[in-house]
Amino acid sequence: MKRLIAGFSVRQKLLAVVLLTTLTALLVAIAVMVGFDLRNYRQSLISDMTTQADLLGRTTAPALTFDDSRVAQENLELLRYRPQIRAAAIYNARGKIFASYSNQDGRELPKLPEADGTRIEGNNLVLFKRIVDNREILGTVYLRADYELYDRLVGYLGIAVIVAALAMLVAYVLSRQLQHIITNPLLAIAEVAREVTEKRTFSLRAPKLSKDEIGMLAESFNTMLAEIERATRDLEASNEVLGREIAEHNRAEREIFRLNAELEQRVKERTAQLEYTNAELEAFCYSVSHDLRAPLRAIDGFGQALMEDFPKDVPQEAQRYLSRIRSSTQRMGQLIEDLLNLSRVSRSSLERGDADVSELARQVVNDLQIRDPQRKVDISVWDGMRANADSRLLQAALENLIGNAWKFSAKTDKPRIEIGSLSDDGRAVFYVRDNGAGFDMAYANKLFGAFQRLHSGNEYQGTGIGLATVQRIVHRHGGRIWADAKPGKGAAFYFTLESGGVENASRDMAEART
């Protein structure tokens, strides 16, 4: 039903509402009126019949008293003026019919009177009434009258149908005539709304045809349209601005991209240049170092020959000078050797493999002990340390680190060196720790630079290239290296041999600086 109604137009709905309301009001009014009338009819009929029976009883009382049924009969005959009364009878005190009257109805009278009262019997109202006179029951009046409830009801229904039809017709015509008062303004708005939706022309306005809620609706609708129009305009304007901004942005982005590409290109070129220069420099360094060794050997060799071949011709003083020349050349030879090593570390290719770190460390320790058998150093090397690294380079790094530890613990009472590893986030961190001279962390940033020495050559021998070499090896493996030390309390060097790259390198720098 609701769905059906939902499909109606406003006109139809209005019409349906008006007609339905009219019909309902009409039916209710008719029902109430009919109900009231029928109730009235029944009551008045009963009261009328009761009065009639009373009257009859009273007029018949003397006839009963003096046993004169003729008079009673005469009294009853008067009822013919009331055709509504179909039958009547007077019963005497013994319950016998004393007088009777019938209006050609053919129905039999009750054989015996009943108790006082009225009742409806189909189309008849039946009434019994005792005749009491002088406190003596003389008999009973019986009345049967037409009870035209159904006839009346049918008549009313007929009237109701006619009235309803008439009223509906009038309501229909009237509402058809009048509904445009409501629907026209609404339809006008609907029309405008449809046009706006179809053509998207927000400049349209709904006509305000009434001053009621629909008028308000039209006004609100217009206000809304104006708002939408304004908002649309604003949106278009802001869209335009945005479009311009986006274009600008795109242009800037393209520019940046272009610059980036240019920069990259430049970096690439520079890097290539630098790599070339570096390689050249390294080659130069290598060849210079290499070539320097021959004259140096000659100087050393001839110095030695001079000292050995002419022990008496060379005065004592000259002998001392000669030995100093020789030690200097030897030191220079060592320097060149170290430089060559450093150069080699840089130039040689990295060949990773499964390296037994513990074994490499033990070999280094062994070599050191053979070279200097007098020294008693407590050295512990952890078992089972392995790494994915170039064994040759790793050995060089360990030689330097363990060599340093050996060297800088020379003046300690009970020298101790430990080579071990710990795990940092699943990555192996190897360390070489001693309880030697240590150093001030303030100079930590100088540790890994070539030719940087924290101790004087008099105290500890060295070229200052070892740690630079170690760092280069570690970096070539992609690892990082850092140190922890205190003057007189020993030093510890930590390094990793796995990924890390730039970040780790910068961390090295940061840690080195602190």
């Binding site: 003096f66 046993d67 008079v71 005190a93 013994r94």
Partner: protein
């Protein structure tokens, strides 16, 4: 009482129909008629209004005088036993000839009085006494109500002028069942 009367009446009627007229039947019929008349007599009291002066005092009984009808008097005594009229006790007084009608409200003069009827009626004339007779033409002699027999049924005629002279008011309802009503006009 009416029922009883009617039953008797019916009995009498049926008896009359069944048997031919016999002495016994005649006696029965007369006895029944007497009984009905006694009952009617008592019932008349309900349809008649007496003026206040008809009674000696507020306690005075309602007295029905009977002359020349002993059987009827006996029946009447039975009927009125324990009953009241106008909230007064009812007394049946058997009267002799020449007795004053003083203190009597209703007087029945039986057929047995015959010729003396006029005399007796004259004595009650102008008094507030309802005179009832059972003789032909009694009304013309000053009787107020006279029983007649119609089709073996007891009926009565009423003479209003006499009643008016006695300041008695007879109800129209009674008149409705009277066979004949004589008016002054």
């Amino acid at each position: 009482m009416v029922a009883l009367t009617l039953r008797l009446c019916a009995l009498v009627a049926s008896l009359a129909a069944m048997a031919s007229i016999s002495a016994l039947a005649q006696v029965d019929r007369t006895a029944a008629e007497t009984r009905i008349k006694a009952a009617f007599l008592y019932k008349f009291s309900a349809f008649v209004e007496w003026p206040g002066r008809a009674f000696a005092g507020p306690e005075s009984p309602f007295t029905i005088g009977v002359i020349g009808a002993d059987e009827l008097a006996a029946d009447l005594e039975q009927i009125v036993k324990g009953r009241t009229v106008l909230e007064r006790a009812v007394v049946v007084r058997r009267m002799r000839r020449g007795e004053s009608v003083e203190g009597i409200q209703m007087l029945f003069i039986g057929q047995a009085e015959g010729a003396r009827l006029t005399e007796i009626l004259a004595s009650a004339k102008g008094q507030s006494v309802l005179t009832v007779t059972e003789s032909e033409d009694a009304l013309s002699h000053g009787s107020m109500i006279n029983f007649v027999s119609v089709d073996d049924k007891v009926r009565f005629d009423v003479a209003l002028p006499q009643a008016e002279r006695g300041a008695l008011r007879i109800s129209a309802r009674l008149l409705a069942v009277a066979r004949k009503v004589l008016t002054s006009s």
